[in-house]
């Protein structure tokens, strides 16, 4: 094969990578422009003045620094939700995989059906129900519905089946260990790597969620980043000059997750996801 053709796969991949990076790059450039320059200078040339610093200051002082509150909220929801959801999924998956109990089949089938259910369509009925018990516009109201992750349970079941050998549990039982101890010290530990993947999947899902918090929340200090930046965009439709803030906010919201991703690369066990196919 000619040397030029050999580079074709690399070139194609590089094109793909460029396509994926360009929007972030553009946001970076747009964020360097001051409010007045945003709509009056060439769009692909960054400004090297104090534009970006001023934008960050403006964003941080808007409504008393509410942008950083939004950032904190997103992390809070995603972290707490991710951890609790993973534990719930682990417990449920472990039980379904390794025990025979009454109702096991029903529960598993219902959970499988939930995997096929578009979760987002439940957001509005969830809101209506929670409004009857007065739990709307609360952190709990946003967190609780996101603790149930049917796909995570499914993955945990698969993982438990392959990673926790029954023989090990039997040995533990013969030694006199209680079931609960077996779960915590043997089961969870063996499921560790899979749990990290389930956690990361749920973390991203909660981080990216828009409709549920949008519908549930009215106090803007409880908004996650998605809802906050969207509300900033809509405000811009009745009040001038918020576009620079939206752009700067978008940039700042993307950076930490990229950093998180880069550092957690080796924890992604996607073979768990593909392994679940068997």
């Amino acid at each position: 094969m000619s040397p030029r053709l050999r580079l074709l796969p690399t070139a194609a991949l590089v094109l793909g990578a460029i396509y994926c990076i360009v929007p972030t790059l553009w946001i970076l450039i747009a964020a360097t422009k001051s409010k007045t320059d945003l709509f009056s200078t060439a769009t692909y040339l960054p400004s090297f003045g104090a534009g970006i610093w001023q934008n960050i200051v403006d964003l941080s002082t808007y409504q008393g620094g509410i942008f950083w509150q939004w950032m904190l909220n997103s992390f809070g929801y995603a972290l707490i939700g991710g951890v609790v959801a993973s534990l719930v999924s682990a417990a449920c998956g472990y039980a379904i995989a390794l025990y025979e109990f009454r109702g096991r089949k029903v529960v598993f089938n219902v959970i499988l059906a939930c995997v096929l259910l578009p979760q987002i369509v439940l957001a509005i009925p969830q809101y209506l129900l929670l409004s009857k018990v007065g739990l709307t516009d609360s952190l709990i109201g946003v967190l609780l519905p996101q603790l149930f992750n049917p796909y995570g349970i499914y993955l945990c079941k698969i993982y438990a089946q392959s990673a926790v050998p029954d023989s090990l549990l039997e040995a533990g039982r013969i030694d006199g260990a209680g079931e609960g101890r077996l779960f915590f010290s043997v089961g969870l530990r063996l499921m560790g790597p899979g749990l990290v993947t389930v956690f990361l999947l749920q973390f991203i899902a909660i981080w990216n969620n828009f409709l549920l918090p949008y519908v549930m929340l009215t106090s803007d200090d409880k908004f996650p980043l998605t809802v906050g930046l969207y509300s900033l965009l809509r405000h811009g439709a009745a009040e001038a000059s918020l576009y620079s803030l939206v752009i700067t906010g978008t940039l700042l919201s993307v950076l930490p997750v990229i950093a998180l991703f880069l550092s957690l690369q080796r924890f992604w066990r996607i073979d768990l996801v593909t392994g679940a196919l068997k």
């Binding site: 793909g16 972030t24 439940l122």
Partner: protein, 289 residues
């Protein structure tokens, strides 16, 4: 004693998930069903003077199904899905295969770059692409190409969704590729088979389950299309407030203040979505066999 503990533990372990399932999946579904059979009517006077909830049977369903906006929104969603699903799965497969080519360079960096959009929320991605589409701020020729035209808007919306989804699907297929034993290729390479022929004849058929699963999940995602059109809406005239079914449901519930009709539409939508998913997953398992 160990036997008794054994009998209790699975129930304890399963309880949180089941409780959440009941409270946040089953209960809202039931409540939506209950609401869908009711409607709110004013009791009198020019400004209503109050309102009461009355039972109206299937009226809301009739109203929902007779609403042309609902059908237009379904049609638009299907159009976007027609663009979104093949593009996502196709590019994911392409990039995964390319990454699996032995002499490819920069594999780790490009793989990471393509995976990153997965971590970007759909709303944020729509903001980024939205400004890139606008003539006022576009670096990609937005002042010459109308990204928000009546037909181009479908490509524009689908593009944002594709951008966010290709990476994850690529990794899924790539992982499946990597788990194929190397001996498969040795024989083919000794026979002088080209990379391309190997990819098409050997690799693709063997990762068909992964491809099928990706297709299933992208299909599910396209049913739930909401964030992208909703965020692009303030930026253009081309996206209406009921552009996709979920936007229609939101509009009914929160702008028109008709939660009952919205509940009826939600119930219909859930059943339709479950039916589609069921059919799709049956096809997937048939492919797996």
């Amino acid at each position: 004693m160990a036997a008794r503990n054994r009998a209790k533990l699975p129930y304890l372990l399963v309880a949180p998930a089941v409780a959440l399932l009941t409270l946040f999946v089953v209960a809202p579904g039931v409540y939506a069903l209950v609401l869908s059979f009711q409607a709110r009517k004013v009791v009198g006077g020019l400004l209503g003077g109050g309102s009461k909830l009355v039972f109206v049977g299937f009226d809301n369903y009739g109203l929902a199904l007779a609403d042309p906006e609902l059908w237009s929104s379904i049609a638009r969603m299907l159009l976007v899905a027609l663009l979104f699903i093949p593009a996502t799965v196709g590019f994911a497969l392409l990039f995964a295969l390319l990454l699996d080519v032995p002499r490819v360079r920069l594999a780790r960096s490009t793989r990471l770059a393509i995976f990153l959009p997965y971590a970007v929320p759909g709303v944020i991605a729509s903001l980024m692409w939205g400004f890139m589409y606008l003539p006022a701020t576009s670096p990609i020729g937005g002042d010459h190409v109308d990204f928000f035209g009546s037909t181009t808007v479908f490509f524009s919306v689908a593009n944002v969704a594709v951008w966010g989804s290709v990476g994850f699907n690529m990794i899924v297929i790539f992982t499946a590729l990597r788990s194929l034993p190397a001996e498969l290729y040795e024989a083919a390479r000794i026979d002088g088979c080209s990379e391309l022929r190997m990819a098409l004849r050997i690799k693709v058929p063997l990762v068909l389950p992964a491809i099928a699963m990706c297709t299933l999940f992208t299909a599910l995602a396209s049913l739930q299309l909401f964030n992208e059109p909703n965020t692009l809406r303030p930026l253009s005239n081309a996206v209406s407030s009921t552009w996709v079914p979920l936007m229609k449901i939101y509009e009914d519930a929160f702008v028109d203040s008709d939660v009952n009709k919205a509940a009826a539409t939600s119930v219909l939508f859930v059943f339709a979505a479950l039916a589609v998913s069921f059919v799709a997953s049956r096809t997937v398992s048939r492919v797996n066999r």
